[in-house]
């Protein structure tokens, strides 16, 4: 079986084995155990008294965000620094459509059908994609790093807009309440039904992974990889770089918008401060830490970074302060671990780039690409040229080109 799988991989008739759904029986078994564990986790949490459900909702949302950003950064190799903006757009779209307090609903502009959760979710998905296209279309034609700065700016102005467009968004009051998903049999989705929300997000997340893996191995997914590896070569093979990148960018944006609408419904509240630049960097560092170009890695990264942000930062502060008071250290006594998030996210990005560019769980192909080039004509090589010359002068036994 294993040999056959390898042969297929080499032959190119099947997708590379590291970015697909599990194939072999052992893998399937491990996968099934993981899924059972994830679904049973609320009961484990209850039995052990961990009280993690409240933190797991945002972490689950981070996972979906990381999957979406992985399409943009990992698959297509585009740096999106304003990912939270699309998250905000999704959240506010659902808010505008479904909240009884929103201007649009009060104006009677929203048909009742779209005031429901699921239709609004679809609209949010599409609206975010449209904004992704509007932002990407002019900038994706330019060089890659311009996209980074434009998305950075977009990430700054979108929350700024929602904060200041008070007649539309209520400014700092935010939008509240937001439509809940209709109950599925005995499962209702109120603000206190954290467990049901957890299962809902889990199912959506797993479905997303499935979709993303299918996409990765589709014609479009292959085009992303081709563009990422060598745009010129891909273009000369008939792939339209701008359109391919735009697809990645729009899909990433719509994933973010989708996550935003889930988030707004789960917390029944939309507020401009939820979408600050820090969130974009949180998701980026999750993708980079976990493994760029690997869905499972991105999810793992989101779990790690999210656990720091939502569990450690909150639970560590008090013991740390108490410890600081005991040993009489002023810094520890008053230190809020939440403030460390800047350094933690930053270090995750820098250290990963320096030490392990592929991330903790790399996609082999992507990790190889991110290694410094060695064969190209680079400064390093030219430096070596000088070194050879100097070396010649100094090597004992070699003088003036003659071997003694």
């Amino acid at each position: 079986m294993a040999n056959l799988a390898r042969a297929q991989t080499i032959g190119g008739s099947s997708a590379p084995a590291y970015e697909t759904a599990p194939r072999s029986r052992g893998e399937l078994a491990r996968f099934a155990i993981a899924i059972v564990f994830l679904f049973a986790f609320p009961f484990i949490d209850q039995a052990l008294g961990l009280r993690l459900m409240g933190a797991l909702l945002p972490i689950g949302i981070y996972c979906i965000l990381a999957m979406g950003l992985n399409i943009v950064v990992g698959y297509a190799g585009l740096l999106d620094l304003g990912y939270a903006a699309f998250f905000a757009i999704g959240a506010y779209t659902v808010g505008f459509l479904t909240s009884p307090g929103s201007v649009f609903v009060r104006g009677g502009w929203i048909p009742p059908f779209f005031q429901q959760f699921w239709p609004a979710l679809v609209v949010a998905f599409i609206v975010a994609a449209i904004f992704g296209i509007l932002l990407g279309a002019p900038t994706l034609r330019l060089r890659g790093d311009y996209l980074a700065i434009v998305t950075l700016g977009f990430g700054e102005i979108v929350p700024n807009f929602f904060l200041n467009a008070v007649p539309l968004t209520g400014g700092t009051r935010g939008i509240n309440p937001i439509a809940k998903p209709p109950s599925l049999g005995p499962l209702s989705f109120g603000q206190t039904d954290q467990r049901n929300w957890y299962w809902l997000i889990l199912v959506i997340g797993m479905f997303s992974i499935f979709i993303i893996l299918r996409m990765y191995n589709s014609r479009l997914g292959r085009s992303w990889q081709a563009i990422r590896e060598d745009e010129l070569a891909a273009a000369s093979m008939g792939i339209n770089p701008t359109r391919t990148k735009l697809w990645a960018f729009a899909l990433g944006a719509s994933f973010s918008g989708f996550a935003g609408s889930l988030y707004s419904a789960a917390f029944q509240y939309v507020h401009p401060s939820q979408f600050e630049f820090t969130l974009s960097i949180l998701v980026l560092s999750a993708v980079i830490l976990g493994g760029i170009g690997n869905v499972y890695g991105a999810v793992a990264g989101a779990v790690i970074i999210g656990s720091f942000d939502r569990i450690l930062a909150e639970r560590l502060t008090q013991p740390l302060n108490a410890f600081g008071q005991q040993i009489g250290n002023d810094f520890l006594a008053s230190h809020n671990v939440g403030e460390d998030r800047y350094v933690v996210f930053g270090l995750a990005l820098v250290l990963m780039m320096l030490l392990r560019p592929g991330g903790l769980f790399p996609n082999k192909q992507r990790a190889a690409e991110l290694q410094p080039e060695e064969l190209d004509i680079t400064v390093q090589e030219q430096q070596d040229l000088f070194d050879v010359r100097q070396h010649d002068d100094e090597t004992p036994g070699v003088r003036g080109g003659q071997v003694a």
Binding site: P138, R143, G144, I157, Q383
Partner: protein, 324 residues
């Protein structure tokens, strides 16, 4: 709506002052981009660190508000130089420790590292001065801050305010810009910089130490950012760990607007962005009643996107094909 010349002139002055500051920061972006083609996202934070160091340096002297003017001048000078050196060395070390190792990596790697460093520096800023807005020590007394050259010194009868403080900003910026121009166009180091910017490989073959030249660019860019940090801290009388983000974004827009990689372009772009900024903050309200300072970031972002769509090479930049 009648055109209000007094108001316009007022915001013109403000715009030129702001523009001079933005130009100082924009030069750091453009210098580095011109040579290594890297958007140094951490540059705004290097500027913020310069501002913080200036505050700490002034605070260390423990000067009272009523100190004699020569003491204030001396302390200011020391703080300015300290901030410049600190930011310069900081930017240089970032290049040495991080960017240099990633020089042969794909473009995405140094960009991601740069955004990481910018975050680390913001975190350090929080450890250093806390996460709230910091008020600088009262180095310049309030009555000196509010001296209006036009009415107090020249005795003109006008409602326009041109403060000595505004003049000081412009007077501090001009020698810095001139110094940079001299460095780049009239010294061997500058020649090396221009050579490396043109063709790194060929420059190396001509015996130019590429790594050292790039390091110099980071050092010089950092020095200018440090000066800007000192000036902004005392001009606006506030500092915050996040101040680098907005100034950085505005300055980068200025650099792109002027044509990234072009020094004159950065100064021109800085002045234009400074004017757009001040007009949007105050003057535009006379025509659009609901407009206000809160929409300025939107305005600047609009400029950035429009430049990228219609003139990606900027006002003074030349079309450089992406190196394959």
């Amino acid at each position: 709506m009648e055109f209000n010349w007094t108001l316009f002139t007022q915001y013109l002055i403000l715009g030129i002052t702001n523009g001079a500051l933005i130009a100082l920061i924009a030069l750091g972006y453009t210098l580095v981009y011109g040579i290594v083609e890297l958007i140094n996202f951490a540059h705004g934070e290097v500027f913020m660190m310069g501002a913080f160091l200036a505050l700490t340096a002034v605070g260390a002297f423990g000067v009272a508000a009523g100190a004699p003017w020569w003491q204030i001048a001396l302390i200011s000078l020391v703080a300015l130089v300290a901030a410049m050196l600190f930011s310069g060395v900081l930017n240089w070390s970032i290049d040495r420790v991080v960017y240099r190792r990633l020089r042969n990596s794909p473009r995405l790697a140094p960009l991601i590292a740069a955004i990481g460093i910018s975050f680390i520096l913001q975190g350090i800023g929080i450890y250093w001065k806390g996460s709230n807005t910091v008020l600088p020590p009262a180095l310049i007394p309030t009555d000196v801050r509010s001296i209006n050259i036009l009415t107090d010194w020249l005795g003109l009868d006008t409602r326009i305010r041109f403060r000595a403080l505004d003049l000081a900003v412009i007077l501090l910026t001009i020698p810095l810009l001139a110094g940079l121009s001299w460095l780049v166009y009239h010294t061997r180091t500058g020649k090396a910089m221009r050579a490396v910017a043109q063709d790194r490989g060929a420059a190396a073959l001509m015996g130019i130490d590429v790594n050292r030249t790039i390091a110099t660019a980071f050092l010089v860019g950092g020095i200018l950012a440090g000066a800007a940090g000192f000036i902004v801290a005392y001009y606006t009388n506030t500092a915050r760990f996040q101040m680098g983000f907005r100034y950085g974004l505005f300055a980068f827009t200025a650099a792109v607007l002027g044509g990234i990689g072009n020094l004159n372009g950065a100064v021109l772009g800085g002045l234009i962005i400074g004017l757009v900024w001040s007009m949007s903050d105050g003057f535009l309200q006379a025509f659009i009643p609901w407009w206000g300072a809160q929409w300025t970031p939107l305005m600047i972002f609009g400029v950035l996107v429009l430049v990228m769509i219609f003139k990606p090479t900027g006002l003074l930049g030349e079309a450089v094909p992406e190196k394959v």
